[in-house]
């Protein structure tokens, strides 16, 4: 019996390795959490969530908006905004060079992408952070784009959703980046005053100046499962308090337990639940056969029915 196996297995191994060599580069991806080797097209159908362990992998800003928005009627906002280097910042590399490298690597001009579109038929303005662009850090362009997203939502009388993934403020823009915290927070107060909803959707990871401004200011604060979210990074805290951090510290589930989040929404339900929440906050009727209606259907002429009867 063992002889029989020995004869068969080496052959099988050879066949397997030959097959692997023929597989085009990048068709397989290893789950960073459970190390399962996953077939990429299947992984993509599963919205970049590991089918084995449900690990929510990081996705690019554009992929996020692509997953979230209806395919029809998308319009990118402030796509042309480019970062400037007012401080002529230089560490071991020049900021200009870091920007150029990040732009080349991601194909984005900066770390935030904003689009107007629809989710299940419901008009929405959606923003997504590009974590691969200098750690999704917030500088003047991110701040300005976010404010324009808020303004677009006010103009269109629709809700705002922001998918954050960021290490915080961008050091290379120094105090200018710090001021973006105030800028984005101020704009959100305007949205609030207009009675329009803002859903802050936190994805792995959200820290520092982004966490301590636009990310925590949602009418609803929601997060993906097991995203790391906090003000100070775990290493900084560990060095400061000199004790081991508790299990699950700064994960979405930890934040939910401590009252910082309204809910955790798995990626598979991102579209349906966000749309359903927005519709409720905007006083719209439940989802019909073709998604949500843009305007609530009022009996008779809506303008006249709003008037008190004489």
């Amino acid at each position: 019996m063992s002889n029989w196996l020995e004869k068969i297995i080496p052959g099988m191994r050879r066949a397997e390795s030959r097959a692997k060599a023929n597989v085009p580069e990048g068709l397989w991806k290893k789950c960073p959490k459970c190390a399962a080797v996953l077939y990429r097209p299947e992984l993509e159908r599963n919205l970049d969530v590991c089918p084995k362990c449900h690990h929510h992998m990081r996705v690019s800003a554009r992929r996020r908006l692509d997953m979230f928005l209806d395919s029809e009627g998308r319009l990118e906002i402030a796509a042309d905004l480019e970062p400037s280097d007012r401080l002529k910042f230089r560490d071991t590399k020049r900021y200009k060079d870091r920007l150029a490298a990040a732009q080349k690597a991601t194909g984005e001009k900066d770390a935030l992408v904003v689009m107007k579109g629809k989710v299940e038929g419901l008009p929405v303005v959606a923003c997504a952070f590009e974590f691969n662009f200098m750690g999704g850090s917030m500088g003047a362009v991110v701040g300005e784009k976010f404010v324009r997203a808020v303004n677009a939502a006010i103009e269109a009388r629709c809700g705002l959703v922001c998918f954050s993934a960021s290490g915080g403020a961008r050091m290379q823009e120094a105090l200018i980046s710090l001021m973006q915290m105030a800028k984005t927070s101020a704009a959100l107060e305007r949205l609030k005053a207009e009675g329009l909803p803002y859903i802050s959707y936190m994805t792995d990871p959200v820290f520092g100046g982004v966490s301590a401004s636009l990310a925590m200011l949602g009418d609803l604060n929601v997060a993906e499962p097991r995203a790391l979210i906090g003000f100070a990074g775990p290493r900084v805290i560990e060095q400061t308090v000199r004790e081991k951090l508790p299990e699950g510290f700064q994960r979405s589930e930890f934040l939910l337990e401590h009252g910082a989040l309204d809910m955790i929404i798995p990626r598979a339900q991102m579209r349906t639940r966000t749309a359903s929440l927005l519709a409720k906050l905007m006083g719209l009727p439940p989802k019909g056969q073709s998604g949500y209606q843009e305007e609530p259907e009022l009996p008779g002429d809506s303008e006249n029915s709003a008037e008190p009867s004489a």
Binding site: L87, A182, A186, E189, G209, A212, F249
Partner: protein
Amino acid sequence: MSAQERQHNPYYLDFEQPIVELEEKIEELRLVGSAQDVNLQEEISRLESKSKALTAEIFSKLSSWDIARLARHPKRPYTLDYIEKIFDDFDELHGDRKFADDPAIVGGVARLDGKPVMVIGHQKGREIKEKVKRNFGMPRPEGYRKALRLMEMAERFHMPVMTFIDTPGAYPGIGAEERGQSEAIALNLAVMSRLKTPIISTVIGEGGSGGALAIGVCDRLFMLQYGMYSVISPEGCASILWKSAEYAADAAEAMGITAQRLKELDLIDAIIEEPLGGAHRDPDMMAARIKLQLTQSLEELTALDRDTLVQQRYDKLTDFERYFG
């Protein structure tokens, strides 16, 4: 005895040592003069003008890192020192009404030239026990929530808000995270941006990142000449970008943390000049200068109606040109 062999005075920075030595010499001469009844006045005067010239010379070529160290100077006046010197009739108010009172932020009602105002500031401690009590000026969420409570109260009672910024940053601790450090800071930024009463902020020492900004969204932002204001501490920036905190001086230079640089970038409204040798050399003079700036600005701001005030603040906060240059 050479200068290097002399005892280094731990209350002063290295570049201040020659000045301190000269001053000690002057003090010795004074003692000798009074004890032995000899007139050394001429010599003392000569040394005093030498000391002034030396101080002026040393302080004319400070690096960004020197200024960062002055901003954290152990003898630098803190918020409560200024409150005592600038305002009358200060009543400290405590607690966030939710969890605790955070001694790293102090606040209360006071009078500025007779007019009621709300004063809020970070508070550092001077001796070890006090430092620990004040958590080295690093607030927890309760500190920010107390500040918010006081600011909203100020709005209700039509009192202007004056804040003093002096913190290494918000405290990075387990409890602080559990109780929502980020949310506490974020909410302050949001509410301050639309608070219908004048807000004037002054960076008196260290303006450390979001922990500083959380009481610093305002109509007028002033900085003392040797204050610093930055998105991350020079050490923190250096350890991330240079991979070692030893490059803090380079990081300080690159980030442009000084009042002068930030004024050039139009990110602050004015620099309040410090007495020769820094605020700790003459806290009374420093306080008088701050007071003058505060009263002048308050006059300008109270002339505006509330909606104009808030609109101007919003326009300034969200201005595009200011950040893109």
